[in-house]
């Protein structure tokens, strides 16, 4: 008997005329690892919430069809009983943790289940041990890293010993290393403990290969499902972008048997291409040496900048950095490396304890005049912090008014460019997360800045939204605007940035051409770079790989076929 059986499920959120789920039919077998992918607003999260019994219980709305858990109608199941069997981990750890301390948080669900004291103690101890959370014991949740917080959220669900765990984009707030750790943990739970896993994710290169089965959703429907290989092949045929780069490359090169991991991809490439041995002794060059002509001098320059909060540990340590007009710079690094602080210093929101900031050749110091003229735009991690006016249009007028700048058609022009024109009279808080972010971006771009600083703009975005944003930022660069993006999304950085900076412990440890840095890095590299390493250098994206390797593979394949025939 399947653990979940969904029959003809349709669902409308309250006051919505468009169905969030439309005629869904899917079964999930016991011990299976199901990955659900799809664009923003495709219904992935709603499906996850339905399996967890939160839709329609928590949200209300119109519900039809049946969701069965081991043959039992989920809507008729007692909430306590359902929570014992199905656990759910949400996207943002900050918004699902209730207590101030880790151990108490893990026990929260157990308290709600009314378990005896001894049983709670045993389960908390077991889970903390299994997830290696001893370090977090007794510490304030507030002081833990994002990865640890998400682990606590998982621990709190695991302690309830559910048979199925549903995870809604659990790694979207984590850096690549923490995300990798977290996903490996989920795989362990599936393989070693036999837990059924339903995972919703956007960054497919991290998890596509972990799944037993993948379901792709669009407009509230499941449009394709099967093994990762089947979905990869089928997606290419149907033009669906939700497959990892390795699979996209091989499908694009005309292979019928599509690999989904770097390992599988390399073993296929070995049949077609000789492995070059020229990278064994290569040393990563640090220090930016870009020969691009720079007639106008730097947009912003940081000279030996040191910064610490409240005289505690230095967050930035002797940063030397110049960003030139038209440059697209990606700033990478682990959580706590100082990336966001660096961006705030560049935005003039934090003053360095030591060192100098020059904007357009003029020292800024504590003088905020430069920023008050709207020459620097800064988009923080949370676009909601920008939205408080009644309409989208008013958000932009608010910024213009503060800088005493005339409209002169700027608002309409920008709304058009960011595809927000149809929402201009709507309340920004009524829009989707992707649209909200575009409104926030528009609210700072309306002053036509020379430097645009964005902190984690691709968090939780699907492929299409990322491509739109990347394209728009690239257009800005063409117009001479400097763009600096703090991101954990290496694939995005490889696609759009021309220069990459890696920060570690407040220092710049690598600064150079994106190809050079991402191509030579072991961890901050794209899936394609890892796959092509040793076969061809300077490949970061699927398109580059297809351009360089595609014809070679095609010729080698044709020669092999000829020899076979001969």
């Amino acid at each position: 008997m399947p653990i979940f059986q969904v029959n003809n499920l349709s669902y409308y959120y309250p006051e919505s005329e468009k169905p969030a789920l439309k005629g869904i039919n899917i079964t999930v077998e016991e011990g299976e690892f199901l990955l659900v992918v799809g664009g923003s607003g495709s219904g992935k999260s709603t499906l996850a919430r339905t399996l967890a019994g939160l839709v329609p219980d928590f949200y209300g709305g119109v519900f039809s069809g049946k969701v069965l858990f081991k043959g039992q109608d989920i809507r008729r199941m007692d909430r306590r009983k359902l929570s014992r069997h199905v656990g759910m981990v949400f996207q943002d750890p900050e918004k699902q943790l209730v207590k101030t301390e880790a151990e108490a948080e893990i026990a929260f669900g157990l308290e709600n289940l009314g378990l005896p004291q001894q049983e709670m103690l045993r389960r908390v101890a077991e889970v903390m041990d299994f997830l290696n959370l001893e370090e977090a014991k007794g510490r304030f949740i507030d002081k833990l890293s994002g990865g640890q917080k998400q682990k606590i959220a998982l621990a709190s669900v695991l302690a309830m010993q559910p048979e199925a765990i549903i995870l809604d984009e659990p790694t979207s707030q984590l850096d690549p290393t923490c995300a990798e750790d977290f996903l490996n943990l989920i795989k362990r739970l599936n393989e070693e403990m036999g837990k059924t896993v339903v995972l919703i994710e956007q960054r497919l290169e991290r998890c596509f290969h972990l799944a037993d089965r993948v379901a792709v959703m669009k407009d509230g429907e499941i449009i394709i499902q099967g093994t990762p290989q089947e979905v990869a092949s089928g997606s290419i045929d149907s033009g669906i972008p939700f497959i990892p780069p390795v699979a996209r490359f091989f499908a694009g090169a005309g292979f019928s048997n599509i690999p989904v991991t770097v390992k599988e991809g390399r073993s296929i490439l070995k049949n077609y291409l000789p492995l070059q041995n020229n990278d064994a002794d290569s040393i990563t060059q640090t220090g930016f040496d870009n020969n691009k002509e720079r007639k106008n001098g730097e947009t912003i320059a940081l000279k030996k900048v040191w910064f610490s909060y409240d005289d505690k540990k230095e967050v930035l340590r002797g940063i030397d950095l110049q960003i030139f007009p038209g440059e697209f710079v990606a700033i990478l690094g682990a959580n706590g490396a100082g990336k966001s602080t660096l961006l705030k210093v560049m935005a003039g929101l934090l003053y360095p304890n030591r060192g100098k900031i020059m904007f357009r050749g003029k020292a800024c110091g504590k003088n905020l005049e430069v920023y008050r003229q709207g020459k620097v735009a800064y988009l923080s991690q949370n676009p909601n912090d920008y939205l408080f006016q009644d309409t989208v249009e008013q958000e932009l007028f608010f910024t213009l008014k503060n800088f005493d700048k005339p409209d002169e058609g700027r608002v309409d022009n920008l709304l058009e460019k960011l595809d927000l024109n149809r929402h201009k009279h709507r309340n920004p808080r009524d829009l989707s997360s992707g649209e909200r972010q575009r409104v926030a971006l528009a609210s700072v771009l309306v002053t036509e800045p020379e430097l645009v600083l964005l902190d984690e703009p691709t968090r939780g975005m699907d492929y299409a939204l990322k491509a739109d944003l990347g394209g728009y930022l690239a257009d800005l660069c063409k117009g001479g605007v400097s763009v600096a993006v703090v991101t954990h999304d290496v694939e995005f950085a490889a696609e759009y940035a021309e220069r990459v900076i890696i920060l570690y412990d407040g220092r710049i440890v690598s600064d150079g051409n994106a190809k050079q840095i991402l191509g030579s890095s072991m961890f901050y590299s794209t899936q394609m770079a890892r796959m092509c390493k040793g076969f061809a250098e300077d490949i970061l994206t699927v398109e580059e790989a297809l351009d360089i390797l595609g014809p070679i593979i095609f010729r080698a394949g044709a020669n092999a076929a000829e020899r076979g025939m001969g």
Binding site: D78, Q117, N402
Partner: protein, 305 residues
């Protein structure tokens, strides 16, 4: 700086006390500061609280609390002498004012204002002690058994408050980037700018609260009778601290009933102390200092462990 106002785990003896023992100590200080009106007693409680704060390495935090407290005491010390008519020893005859009538300042009213200010500083210091001594989760664990929902709301507020302060700072930075200058403009304009910050914070908090409620429901919250997870063991030192606090409370309450530690202010000031007062105060302070003494011994003398 604001983070100093909240509990920080320092692995100190007083922080490791069982929450029941710690709460009993704090409640005793609070009750005694409210039942006594004798300034000697109030100063004694203030010093005793200060000693505990010192043992908790919280002098910096206490300074912040006291600064805020002193600001509140100023109006008390000014307004009480101006409006009180009960004192007989007139120090100053002022003009006749509308609503207040003829202004007179009496010695008793000044003294009463000063004593009440002292009491306010006591209460603020005790609140500071609570903040740096008792882990909020542990304190709420005790309350949970009697009023779970209220305890949960308090727990959430405790967790959210520092996060909200940080969030407010982020929102302010975003507004600065959008051209809002918080240092310029009239009072009304500044008020409008700060109102926007609160408005954004409220909007976001409302949205976040829905997500949190959903996560709580997913973990069976509200599904029936719940149990309370207890980790703390009542150790001998907890017993000693609890016993000393209860003794101080009992003796203090008995003394107050017998008239010790209670001072008459109007129409004439009563006696500040008698020998009975001194003995009672000394005994009470000795009892109230037991946790601090144990803390001192715990860190410096192996026989205490």
């Amino acid at each position: 700086m604001l983070e100093e106002l909240f509990y920080q785990e320092k692995e100190l003896f007083l922080q490791k006390l069982h929450p029941a023992a710690a709460m009993l100590h704090i409640c005793t200080l609070l009750v005694l500061s409210l039942i006594f009106t004798n300034p000697l007693y109030l100063v004694g409680i203030f010093l005793c609280t200060g000693l505990s704060v010192y043992a908790l390495e919280g002098l910096q935090t206490w300074k912040l609390f006291i600064k805020g407290g002193l600001l509140m005491t100023v109006p008390i010390m000014i307004i009480n002498p101006l409006v009180s008519r009960a004192g007989a020893t007139i120090l100053w005859h002022g003009p006749r004012l509308p609503v207040f009538g003829k202004i007179t300042v009496s010695l008793e009213a000044v003294f009463y204002g000063a004593v009440m200010s002292m009491r306010l500083l006591d209460v603020i210091s005790i609140f500071c002690l609570y903040n740096i001594m008792v882990h909020p989760d542990k304190a709420l664990n005790i309350l949970e058994r009697f009023a779970f929902k209220s305890a949960l709301v308090l727990s959430l507020a405790t967790r959210m408050f520092p996060a909200m302060i940080r969030h407010l700072e982020n929102i302010k930075q975003v507004q600065v980037v959008r051209g809002v200058d918080f240092s310029t403009g009239s009072f009304r304009q500044k008020l409008d700018k700060y109102t926007n910050l609160i408005y954004i914070l409220l909007l976001s908090s409302l949205e976040d609260s829905m997500e949190m409620a959903e996560a709580m429901q997913a973990r069976a919250f509200g599904s029936g009778r719940r149990m309370c997870y207890v980790r703390d063991v009542f150790k001998p030192e907890d017993f000693i601290c609890a016993a000393s606090s209860m003794t101080a409370l009992f003796v203090g309450a008995l003394g107050a009933v017998k008239g010790y530690g209670v001072m008459n202010f109007y129409p004439y000031l009563g006696s500040v102390y008698s020998m009975g007062d001194i003995y009672l105060l000394a005994f009470m302070l000795a009892m109230l200092s037991v946790p601090t003494l144990l803390s001192w011994g715990w860190h410096r003398c192996r026989y205490f462990r």
